[in-house]
C-alpha cells in the first residue's frame, strides 16, 4: 500500500510540477472546442445539436495527447526496471499510474467542461450530465490508454501508433458519453447512458492494468 500511494503521489507531483502536462491538455481541450464554432458557424441550433459530441471528441483527443508520456520517461531512464523490481505487483503499479494520470488530465477535463458547454450553447439543463459523464467516463480513457502506451513502448513514431490503437477503443465511451448529454437534453433521462459508462470504467479497472503489465514485462525483456 505504501508503494501504491508513493507511486501515485510521485506521478501526480511530477505532472503538476512540470506543469506542462495538465496545462497542455487543458489548453488543447479548450482550443479544439473553440475551433468548431469558428468552423461551422455560430448558428445556435447547429451548435446545440453537435455540442456534446464536440466536447467529448475534444476530451478524447486531449487525453490522448498526454498518453505517450505515461510510461515513456520511466522506460527511458530506467525507472521502469525499478518499478518491476519493487514490492508492488506491476498490475497495481499501472493502476497507480493510471490513477495519477486521471487526476492530472481526466478530472481537470471534466471540471472544465461546463465552461466549454457555454461556448457550444449546450442546453444548460444538460451540463451536469456532460460533466458527470466525463467524470465517470474519463477513467476509461486513462486505463485503455495505458494498454496502448505500454504496447507501443520503444516503437518509433510512438505517438501516431498510439492514436491508431487507442481511438477505435475510445468509441464506446464516446457513444455513451455524448449520448447521455443528448438524452438529457431531449428529456428522456441520461441514467442508462451514465450507468453504461460506469460499467465500462468498472470493466476496464481490472482488465486494462493486467494487459498493460503484460505489455510492460514484454518491453523490459
Amino acid at each position: 500500500m505504501a508503494a501504491f500511494i508513493g507511486l501515485f503521489r510521485r506521478d501526480l507531483r511530477l505532472a503538476l510540477r512540470q506543469g506542462g502536462d495538465t496545462g497542455l491538455v487543458l489548453g488543447f481541450f479548450v482550443l479544439a472546442v473553440v475551433l468548431f464554432p469558428l468552423g461551422i458557424g455560430p448558428e445556435p441550433a447547429v451548435l446545440q445539436r453537435v455540442g456534446a459530441g464536440i466536447v467529448w471528441v475534444a476530451a478524447l483527443l486531449a487525453a490522448l495527447l498526454s498518453l505517450d508520456r505515461l510510461f515513456q520517461s520511466d522506460y527511458q531512464d530506467g525507472g521502469l526496471e525499478l518499478l518491476a523490481l519493487s514490492s508492488l505487483p506491476l498490475e497495481l503499479a499501472v493502476l497507480a499510474k493510471c490513477a495519477a494520470h486521471w487526476v492530472a488530465t481526466g478530472l481537470p477535463l471534466a471540471l472544465t467542461s461546463p465552461f466549454l458547454a457555454f461556448l457550444v450553447d449546450l442546453d444548460p439543463a444538460a451540463i451536469p450530465t456532460l460533466t458527470l459523464g466525463l467524470v465517470v467516463g474519463t477513467p476509461v480513457l486513462s486505463l485503455i490508454g495505458s494498454v496502448a502506451a505500454a504496447l507501443t513502448l520503444g516503437a518509433r513514431r510512438q505517438g501516431v501508433l498510439l492514436s491508431l490503437l487507442v481511438l477505435p477503443l475510445y468509441v464506446p465511451p464516446l457513444v455513451f458519453g455524448a449520448g447521455a448529454v443528448e438524452a438529457s437534453a431531449a428529456g428522456t433521462g441520461a441514467r442508462a447512458h451514465l450507468l453504461i459508462l460506469a460499467a465500462l470504467t468498472l470493466a476496464a479497472l481490472p482488465l486494462c492494468p493486467w494487459a498493460s503489465a503484460a505489455a510492460l514485462r514484454q518491453a523490459l525483456e
Binding site: 505504501a2 507511486l7 511530477l14 512540470q18 531512464d77 525499478l82 508492488l88
Partner: protein
Amino acid sequence: MTEPAPDLVAADLACRRGERLVFAGLSFRLPPGGAVVLTGANGSGKTSLLRLLAGLIGPAAGRLAWGARPIADDVAEHRARLHYVGHQDGVKPGLTPCETLVFWAALRGREVRRDAPMLTAALAAFALEAVADWPCRWLSAGQRRRLALTRLLVIPAPLWLLDEPFSALDDDNRVRLEQAIRAHRAAGGRVALATHIPAEIGAADEIGLDALAPRHGDAGEE
C-alpha cells in the same frame, strides 16, 4: 531465521537475447559476504547476467536458486532481497534527491519521512547533503549516479547487483562506493559487480564472460 543465510547458486546458466546466445554454461556460487566481479568485452553479457540475476529476464537454460529454492518459485521474495543499480539512474529531473529517495523507499514498501535520519545518513555517505533539496535536473551525471547508489543504503538488502557503478564517479566517490561495498560484505551482504575499473572491494571471484561466449556458428543451435 537462525539458520545461516543460503548461497545464491547459479548452475549452467545460459542467456539468449533475441536470436543470439550471449553466454552459456555459467556456474557460480555467491555465499554471504561474497562478491563476484563480472568482466568481459562490450556486449559479452554483463548487463544481461545482472538482469538475469535480478529476475528481470529469464535464463534460456540452467538454474538460479537461493539456497535450495529456485528463484522462479518466489519472484516477489527475490525482488525484496536485491538492489539493482543499472546503467540508467532512474532519477526524475523534476524531483529532489530527498523526494526521490522517499519514493524509492516507498517502492520497497517502506514509508520514510523526508527528514528521517536514515535518509540523511545515506545522503551523507555519498556526500549529497548539500544538494538534497535541489531539483535533480541541476545534478551532474556523477551526482545522479551517487543518488542511485544511495538507494543501496536507505533500505538494506542482502544482494547488490551493480552495473558499472564506478562510471561517472570521481576518485573520492569511487572510494566511498568501495567502502560501502566492503561494509556491506562485512555485514554478510553479497555483491555482483560488472566493471571495467579494478575496484578495491576485498577478495572477489572473477567471472570472465568472454570465455563463456559461444563461438560463431553455435549461435543458432538450441
